[in-house]
Structure formats: structure tokens, C-alpha cells
Symmetry: D2
Subunit: 292 residues, 4 copies
């Protein structure tokens, strides 16, 4: 909550996924009780159709918890018994994040102000853009700005630099905050599961370019925005969050663009926050989002 | 408002559409003032892109207005000068309406209860269905029920009977309240501009069959429903109204179907009400909806 | 889900509340695993401010679960250890419900249609009203209708008859579906925790009479409705659910009344459904609602 | 749209209010036609209860309109005939605006970014604050920042300086963007009709201090924010716009504060935009808001 990423919030987040079998919850909660941990928040989901069980548990201790490595080693025994995919995260560890933008600054402004006021639980390593427009605001915010111009000819090289920056920053998360470039399949692959895009339509309506103009042409009465994980299928990745807004016949495409920007900001911020809090699990092309 | 269609609400609704030119409003409002009419409600819309002007005006008189025919004759002079398409409706004249349903009764129940309580400003002539399930409720409501079973072989004959019923009833409006049959192009043509369908998705997403199941498969976080005029292009007619509802990973297709029913009911009721109040103008594949 | 209340859906719902201590989840889930039960759905909530733990768990067995009494006896040991308030409900057991209405039928229509289509998981024992208007619809629906007129002089006697009907019906739930009478403190007490009212405002705004007219006078831009448990403090009971709808300067009090009716219906239906599914726990004048 | 306030958008906005009489629209639109003006957008509202007519018309010319003074002089004749209160504004003339903040920056950030991107149609003269926290962002935005600390002892003097700044800036509008100070009745009077406050509750619920904490205590399921004109009655001024957001039992007061901030930003931005576009008319303690 605090804007001091150095402050250690105690506790851990355990996230797991396994075939749905009797006794999973008992095994996990028994393990936690044996380690003197208190459950602070816990969510399960049984996907009865696929017979898969998803769980997210936040726990802490009044006194001292065993350290991360000891906890992990202990849990590995349970994980094997139930065929779990799992991960354990110190609650205080915020994802290191790289943001990519183009010339539209609204999502960037919104993300950085939330981050500065402590309400976006990520550590921002820097901002990448194919244009130089946002440099002043990013630098005023105290963050490095990387201008990576792109042309069709230089796309491969530019993406290499993009990826190199992500690696130098040890980025756990890349946010495409209206980056307006289609990533190559190679880059999509390398960022798989840790790259969130905001698309300015209510997917699956109006994929591709100029979705607000498409919405205007069709005469819809509600527009929307969609935050999703990037995959090699354009605008087809797992949806994390969506938002909508009413429009009417009197709104021009320009009005719709502006109204949509507000939805984009709030949808993207929610998706990033939930991802950062390990609330989002990818499940067969869709997401399980454990709300609070 | 009252469920007494015989009660004469005074006043008229004038609806028009013409090339956008200076002086249109002055001409119309001058005509009304000359006829001693008071404007009760008025809306304009200038479609600057297409240079078309749309207007809806409700007017009444303290004393006596000229009768309908005299008003119409007088207005015709103005209409010609400005190349108007126009119509004049006594406010008390509710559209005669035929409702078509299949086995899902939720929209029918909702429409008939609104109608009985006086909040749906239509006169319902009867209910048509390809199944017999709704007979009891329709007849309890005091309305004729027409069972018109349909098979692929009898489709043409069934549609003839359907159309004959609409004609006998002198229906101004046909509502497909989850009728679940695709009308033939011929029937679509004959009902053009006066047939409203409720589609159980947020169009243009998920056209065609089983849209809630499509929505579940795609993992959207918001579902919707769309009321539109029926055209020969399936689910492509001008959209009158849409509504939405949040869903999450825990909702089964069956849950989504149920949650969607509530949206369908309210979206369809709004669309029908606005159509009945002459608030909806069709404009190049879209609608102008003059709200209150 | 099905409209066949006789169909036994297998499984149980366990609801509990206790001081928040380490090991509660482990104890409960261990008990379930020992009894060969699978958890279908589970929610916790730690009220960190009050140090109270709330839990709702739905479980079933592939084979045979111990019968209700055996399960209960076994769980009692755990419950004592952790100072739990708890209850165990066969999932198939729907609350026996009495509905009270006055002259506005919209909530009643909505509840009964949901019930008939199987989407309201209650067993309706009958409908009570101080007016006779709804008799025809209730009887058409196949339910007993009790006309209990009320005057200031007969209020005590009428409430005795009301309560006697609730007792004869062994009602677990009484729904005030726009009943428009203020219950005496005695009746409120006797129905404590099992009587849901729909108030036609966004509480705590506009308590008492004619809330839509109050909303009109104040010039709010959004109206609402609130479903809450009835307590002796008028319109002050724990809130279960609320809904809202935009209005503007052009809406008359009559318009607002009508627009509000739709919110009332959906808010009340959600509150009743959640109560029936044992998702609502009362907590210090507020509610914990375990959503799906 | 553009952030260039110097760019002259052609056209005028005429706003008026008068007793509702026959012929008003004809007189106004006849005047415009006679002056060779085209109506771009027009809204009326007949308050039938109070017999008052409200109108807002945007007009422009293909060629040359008479200058402002000539138009005004001409219109004065009509205004007298119909007892109008009226005003005429060049569309390009944005209200000169002073913003007051305290330590919460979210509304300020939001307003300034909208302003910089050209989507908030005001000219911002400067920012006043009783704290110095926002200086850096305001100055980076290229605007003057005035630090006006306040104590109970210095309140009168501080308000004099506040008012002096508003006068020097010839401010048409003062925005209290979470200023957190209660203005004296004298200052309220002087800013009457041109001072917009954002209150962080869904008024009339939770007036006064710490409304989100009040909302938490009451256990509401929806929170809100309200933009209103400031009057001497605290939180009782005419409401311009409201927004809401769902919350549940799991949200702490701190969560609610954060969720509310987003609503505050968007509600305040809409209210300011509508005020700046002369869409808001004050009407007997309420507002008429002519939407687009």
C-alpha cells in the first residue's frame, strides 16, 4: 500500500494449480498450521469441467516464519503428492516492471501517478517508447526513459534492444500501455505470461486497428476496453479485465476515443494490480482472477 | 403511463429527418407556434458527417389543437421545402404489437407485467409461439395465444401464418422476445423497421447460436445483450440498446445464461418503450435514440 | 438450479464464524478430508479489525458421505475447540419462504417467475398481503394467497395472524417484497435474521416514506435500492445488497418510481438467492456476503 | 479538443431560462435563422412542475456571424419579451479556472493531465494549496503554484488571499479538488455558482468528515462521489454529477479510500467539463445538465 517498496510487508503469497482431488485444501492448510502460519486471505476455484483446482493463499506469522527456502523445501513434498504447479512469493516483493508506450500518454500518466501515491504495487524499472514525447514526464517522475524508434526495417533490432532492456531490468512484467506496435511472435513468446496489453475495445468485438472507429461505424451503445496477456494471436490472449462505458448517436469517433481513454486507464490499472498481487492465474486460454 | 389505452393523452409526436439546412428548427417551431401548440419535449441531432438533421418534438395545446389531418396538411408545406421524411403521431396512439416467443419465458413475463402495470406503452394484440409452453400465462394475462409449430418443411407456411396474424392484428411492431427462429429474408423484408429482436450477446461479439457459451469459452469478464431491428443480415441490424453485466471465472455457462436473462429483459423493455414513444430513428444502419 | 425442489442435489453447506486463530482452516478441511468429502466451493474472510473468522464451504462426496447427524456430531468437537458458531445444511434443502406484498406487484412477479423457472432457490409456502390485488396471479402460480387487511386498530391482531402463518409454514425466510407496512418491534424480533426487506432507496440516503420523491427533491443523479435484514431500527438493518441507476433532471418522480422498480426486483432477487444459498453472514450490524 | 486555447473554435453558446410559454423556441430559432446561423446542438427542458423553460443552443455560421455585441443587442429584444435570464458565450472562450487542493493529489493529477491533453476545456490560471506538496508537479506542468497555509487563526486572512488570487486571475471557476477546508459563508457567497467541490460520498449519504469511513461502518455495498456547487450549506449544494463503485465486506476503509479516488477523478472531470461547456444550469437547488 505504502509507496516505500523497501518496507518489508510480512507474509507470503502461495499460488498453486493441480488436478482436483480430495484433501488438497487440508494438505495445504495443515502445512501452514504446522509452520505456525496464519491464513490472511484465501481463495479456491474448482474448475469442475476440467477437473483442475486453483488456489491462492496469503499467510503470515505472529512470530517468525521459517525462511523462504525452508518453506519451499517443505512444501515441495506436498506439491509432488498432488501434482501441483506452484510458486511462493514474499508479499513485499513487487514485480519489477517495464512500461512501453507510444504517443498517447493517458495510461502512462495514470500508472505513474498510482505508483507514486503507492497504490500500484509494482517497482517500475523504466519506460520504453518508440517516440520521445513522454520523456519529460517520465524523467520528472524520476524514472529512466528509453527512446527506441522503430521502422519496418529496424523492427528486429529494436525488439532486441527492447528485450535487452527487459532483461537488464530483470523485468517480471512488461506493460504495453498503448504501445501501438504489434510485437513479433518471437517477442510474444519470450514475454509469455508476463506481458499485459490494453486493447481499446470490448474484446472480442473490434480486434485490430482503430477499434473506437469500428465501434462508431457499427453504432454500438456501449464501448469498452480489455486488458489481456499478450500471445502470438493478436488480441486473442487470456482476458484479465474489461470495462465499459455508454455512448450514444451524438458521440463522434473523437468523443469515443476520449471516453474510452478513461476506461483504458482503470482497466489496465486493475489488471496490473491483480497481476502484481498474484491474483491472476492463466487457465486454458482464460484467466482465474481471485478478487478481494 | 396508464394501462388504459382508451384514455386519450393529449398531444402529438412529430418525427422528422432531412438534409441539414439553416432554418429547419425555426420553420418547425414557427409552425407549431402558429398553431398555438406548446412544445413539451424536443430533441435534435445534426449528423455533421452525413449532413442529416434528425428531430423529434412532442407538443400539445392548452385549448384545442387543429385535428390531425389539418395539422398534417399544414406541415406538408414545410416538409416539402426542406425535403423532410416525417410522421405525426397522436401521443395516445400506442403501437399495436405482436410478440413472438419460443420456450424461454423470461422476456415475455417481463414485457407482459410491464404492460399490465401500465409501464410499457404498447397495445399487445397477441402472442405467437412455435411451442405451446407459454399458453397458460398468456391466456391468464387476457391475451390470445397462437401456437404456430415450425419444422424445416413447414417453415414457409408457418411464416405465412405468422405474417397473416401480424396483418390481421394490424401490428405496427413485432417483438422477437427470444423467439429462437431465424426469419426468412422475405419475412425480414416485410417487417423491416418494425421488428425488434433481443440477441443474448453484446453485439458484434458472439453472433449466432449459443452466444453465452461462446462468451464462456472466450473467458470474457463482462457479458451483454443487444436489442436491434431485424434485417436480412443476421444479428447485423441497427442496434437500439445494449446492456452488460460482470461475470467471472467461477460462473458456469448455466450461470451466465441466467445472469444474462435479466439483462435481456431490461434491454428489450427499454428498446420497445423507446420505439413505442417514437424515440428511435434508423440512420444508415445505426440508430438515433432520443432519450429523455 | 432445477425447478424440482424434490430432486436431491447432493452435498452440504457448512457455515461458521469464530475467533480468528491459527489452524481453523486446517481443522475444518482436515475433518472434511477424513470424512471423504470433496470441497466444491469455499470462502473465508478474516475480519482483522474484529479478529473474527468467517467461512462457508460447500462439499460433497463421490461415494457416500456420512449422514447429516453423524457429520454434525463429528464436527461439534472441532467447533468447540475453536469456539465456533456454525450450521450445516443439506444443499438440496431450500429455505421455506413466505412473501409479503402490498399493492405494488413488481417484486412479487419477479420473484415468482424466477422461482417457477427454477432460478430462485427457495420453496415458497405462500403469499401474504394487506390487499387483495395480487390474489389472481398468486393463485395462477399455484400458491396459497392470504389476505390480511390491516388498520391501526387491528395491527396487533393482523401481525399475530401473519406470525401464525409464518409458523404454520415453518418459514425459514420472510420476504417483504414492497409490503409497505412497518413491522412492530415484537415482530421484527421474532423474525430476526430471517426477514429481508427491499427499501426503495440507496440507504442510508432517503430512509422512511416516499424515498424516490425525496431523491427527486434533492436532485440526485443516481437512484438506488437496498435489500437488508429487518431490525427494530427502521431501514437500519444489515445491508445485503444494493443497486443503482442513473437519472437526470428530466425524470419526474413517476419516472423515477418506475425506473427504481427494476432495481428493486434485481436487488431483492440477488439478496434472497444469496441468503438461500447461505452466502450471507450477519456480522456486527453488517453482512459478509460470500459471492461466487 | 486541442490544448490550444488560442485557437478560435467558431460559434456561440446561448443559454437561457424563462417562464414556459408558447413560442419561445420559435422566437429563438427564428432569431438565429434571421442572423444566418446554423444550430449545431440544441437542448430544451420544460420543468412542468415549476413552469420554467431551460434551453441551451450552440450555433455557428458558414460565413460571417454578426459580432458578439450585435448578436447580444438583437437578442435582448427577444429576451425581454419572454422574461429570460440568458447569456451568450463564444464557444472558444474557456472559463478561467483556479484549482484548490490539499495533500491528496489524485484529482489534481487527473485534471491537469486532461487539460494538457486538451480534453478539459478550461484555461487554468493556477493552483492554490494549504500545503506545499503539489508544487513540483504543478510547476512541471507550467502553472503557478500558490502556497496558502491556513490555521484557525489565519483563516480569514488566508481566504482573503485566496479570493484575491481568484480575482487577479479573473477566475470564472474555482475547483475544490479535495481541498479539505470548509469555506467560510462569505467565501461561499462570493464564489456562488462558480465553485465546484468534489465530495467523496454518494450524497446525501455520509455528509461531512471521513465519508468513506462512515460508509465502511454502515456496511454499504456501493460507494460513490458527488460533484456539486458549493453553497453555504455544507454538502447541500446543487448536485452536478455522481458516480459509484461496488465494494464488499473484504474492503478495508483504506481500500475504499483508494477505490473512491478513481470515482472522484472521473466525476469531477465530467462536472467541470459540463460546467465549462455551459451545459449546467442551476434550478431551484438542483441542476439541469444538458448532456450530449
Amino acid at each position: 500500500m505504502a509507496s516505500k517498496p523497501e518496507a518489508l510487508e510480512d507474509g507470503y503469497i502461495l499460488v498453486l494449480k493441480c488436478p482436483d482431488r480430495k484433501g488438497v485444501v487440508a494438505a495445504v492448510s495443515g502445512f501452514l498450521a504446522d509452520n505456525d502460519a496464519s491464513i490472511v486471505e484465501s481463495n479456491h476455484f474448482n474448475d469442475a469441467m476440467a477437473n483442475v483446482f486453483y488456489m491462492r493463499t496469503v499467510f503470515k506469522a505472529d512470530g517468525d516464519l521459517p525462511p523462504m527456502t525452508a518453506l519451499s523445501a517443505g512444501f515441495e513434498l506436498i506439491a509432488r503428492r498432488y501434482d501441483m504447479e506452484w510458486s511462493l512469493h514474499p508479499k513485499a516483493l513487487r514485480p519489477r516492471t517495464l512500461i512501453a508506450v507510444s504517443r498517447f500518454g493517458h495510461c502512462l500518466y495514470d500508472l505513474l501517478h498510482r505508483w507514486r501515491s503507492g497504490s500500484l504495487p509494482v517497482d517500475i524499472a523504466g519506460v520504453v517508447s518508440n517516440h520521445d514525447d513522454m520523456r519529460s514526464f517520465v524523467e520528472w517522475s524520476g524514472l529512466p526513459f528509453h527512446h527506441l524508434p522503430i521502422t519496418q526495417a529496424t523492427k528486429a533490432a529494436q525488439e532486441d534492444r527492447f528485450m535487452a532492456l527487459a532483461e537488464e531490468a530483470r523485468a517480471d512484467l512488461v506493460i504495453l500501455a498503448r504501445y501501438m506496435q504489434i510485437l513479433s511472435p518471437q517477442l510474444c513468446e519470450r514475454l509469455s505470461g508476463r506481458c499485459i496489453n490494453i486493447h481499446h475495445s470490448f474484446l472480442p468485438s473490434f480486434k485490430g486497428a482503430k477499434p473506437y472507429h469500428q465501434a462508431f461505424e457499427r453504432g454500438v451503445k456501449i464501448i469498452g476496453a480489455t486488458a489481456h496477456y499478450v500471445t502470438t494471436d493478436l488480441d486473442e490472449g487470456p482476458i484479465i479485465e474489461q470495462g465499459v462505458q455508454r455512448v450514444d448517436h451524438g458521440h463522434t469517433p473523437e468523443d469515443i476515443v476520449k471516453m474510452g481513454q478513461e476506461i483504458e486507464c482503470s482497466v489496465l490499472a486493475r489488471a496490473v494490480t491483480w497481476h502484481a498481487e498474484r491474483r491472476v492465474l492463466i487457465a486454458r486460454g482464460k484467466t482465474v482472477v481471485f478478487g478481494r
